[in-house]
Symmetry: C2
Subunit: 119 residues, 2 copies
Amino acid sequence: MTGPDSSDASDSSDVNDSVDAVLGALADPTRRALLDALVARGEASASALAGDLPVSRQAIVKHLGLLTEAGLVSSDRVGREVRYRPRSDTLDATAHWMSALASEWESRLSAIKRAAERD
Amino acid sequence: MTGPDSSDASDSSDVNDSVDAVLGALADPTRRALLDALVARGEASASALAGDLPVSRQAIVKHLGLLTEAGLVSSDRVGREVRYRPRSDTLDATAHWMSALASEWESRLSAIKRAAERD
DNA sequence: TTCTTGTGCAACCATTCAGTTGCAAGTCAG
DNA sequence: CTGACTTGCAACTGAATGGTTGCACAAGAA
């Protein structure tokens, strides 16, 4: 368990680590397509997802491993197959982080611009 | 100009391309640190930024090229030096995109779960 | 002009990474 | 038990990438 006790944006050690993984995972187009397929199905095995994308099952498994480590999907095994399921909360948390970062940029930049104009 | 006319989540050709570049740019820790340094300065040249990070100036230039292509920084040349400046709007647009994606996931997943429970 | 500083270009190296194939092992149905 | 199907592990290849060094060129300062 990653334990994403989201509260405010004061801590940057745990969050930054998670953000790193999420951004890295989301940066790959194949991985985004895979997530798309998984969201469309709601729940699916690696073999089933391999039928949706033009890559081998092993590639899918690797991507799912990365996505799991990033907290974007969760898996649990049913019988002989492993069901993967997307996690929207991690994506939501990352979206919040990015939005907060954008706000911080804006405030800092406007402050700098204001200081420059006063000079 | 990329023309990021953000409205809803129905278009996926222009936006997805921009998002791909932004996520790819933000995925690298060095690049994020570079952006951090640039935001702290508000405006800086590649050589100045090279003093902030433990990498060579050439690496900085490469990163700035990527960030420029992603729309996260803009540059304009002053005399013999090139001033780089962060663009908060692109980051903000990407944050919005990600937030919308998270919402879409949630709604689709809850719909699927509801359908499964009714069955 | 001469010196210094900053940029631009290019070659090069090492690592990471996406993707493949092959094979062993577990699990359900007949 | 036997056969069909799915996961898991490992080795390998090719391309992308982060980073370096070296050198040539432009622009301000002495």
